[in-house]
Amino acid sequence: MEQEPYPKVYLYRRIVQAKLFIDQHYAKNIDLDNIADEAYFSKFHFIRLFKKAYGKTPHQYLTYVRIEQAKILLKRPIQVSEVCFAVGFSSISSFTGLFKKVTGITPSAYMIQQEKIRLEIKKAPLTYIPGCFAEMKGWTPLYNKTGPEEKSNFQEVE
C-alpha cells in the first residue's frame, strides 16, 4: 500500500476537488449540499474542513469566485445583467448588492472605473511602468510626449 505523504491526505484531496468543482462550475446553479455528498462528508464536517483550508465556507467561496469573475468581465464594456447571469447569479438586485458590499461600488461604476484605467494605460502606459524599466526596455522615447530622450544608461556595457 502506498504510504501517505502526509496525514489525512484523502480528506485534503476531497476538499480540493470540491474547491476545483466550484472554480469550474461557479456559473451554474451549484447545489453545495451535492458537493458535500460527492465528497462523502456530512454537510457540517465538509463546511468545517473547507473553511479550515480556505478561510471561507463553501458558500462564501462560491460568492467570492462569482464576484471575482464578474470583476474580470466588467473590465470591458458589457451589460451588467449579462455579467450577473454569466457568473451564476439569478437576480440582478442581489448581484448588484453583493458586488457593492464586496468592492464598495456598483458593477456599473466599477465598469466605468476599469474602462477609464484601460484607456489611460493605452494612452499613457508609462504612467503605470516604473521609469527605470521603461528606460531599460527602450520605451521612454517611444511614449514620452516630449519626444526622444537621451540615450539610456541601462544598455549593456560593451
Binding site: P5, Y12, V16, Q17, L20, Y54, I129, W139, F154, E156
Partner: protein, 136 residues
C-alpha cells in the same frame, strides 16, 4: 527611508504562457497588461492577498535590456532551474499542494515539516522555482 517593495521581476521564457500559469493556475490577479509596441508587453500580476505587490513577468528577449548572447544564456539558465525567486505563503499548504498538483504544477519537493513550518518547492512554467510555505 524605504517603506516597502512595490515591484519585483521574474524573468520568463514566454509571457503568454506565464500569464496562463500565474493567473489561471496560481490564481494571481492581473494588475497591468499593456502592449508596448511590436512584440513588447508590460505584464504585472499580484498575489491574491497582496494587491500592492506587482510581480513583473519580464520576457527574456533580445533588446536593450539583453543583448542576443545574454538573452540566450539567461533563457538557458532559467530553463535549467537556476533561479529561485521567492517564497509564497499560504494558509493551508497541503490543500494548496494538492490543488496545484491537480493542475499539473511540477513540485521539486512535496510539503515537509521543518522546524520553522511546512515547506514545499515548485517550478513555474519557465523553470523558476519558488518555495511554498506555511508558517507554524
Amino acid at each position: 527611508m524605504i517603506g516597502k517593495l512595490s515591484h519585483v521581476s521574474i524573468f520568463v521564457l514566454d509571457q503568454d504562457s506565464a500569464y496562463d500559469f500565474y493567473v489561471n493556475t496560481l490564481g494571481f490577479k492581473v494588475h497591468t497588461d499593456a502592449a508596448m509596441g511590436p512584440g513588447a508587453r508590460w505584464l504585472t500580476v499580484t498575489p491574491p492577498e497582496q494587491p500592492d505587490l506587482e510581480i513583473t513577468l519580464m520576457a527574456i528577449s533580445e533588446g536593450m535590456m539583453f543583448k542576443k548572447e545574454s538573452a540566450e544564456v539567461m533563457r538557458d539558465l532559467v530553463k535549467k532551474g537556476t533561479f529561485g525567486f521567492g517564497v509564497f505563503e499560504c494558509n493551508d499548504i497541503y490543500a494548496t499542494y494538492e490543488e496545484l498538483k491537480a493542475k499539473g504544477v511540477e513540485f521539486i519537493k512535496p510539503p515537509k515539516e521543518e522546524f520553522y513550518g511546512i515547506e514545499a518547492l515548485f517550478k513555474d512554467d519557465s523553470g523558476n522555482w519558488f518555495s511554498l510555505g506555511q508558517k507554524k
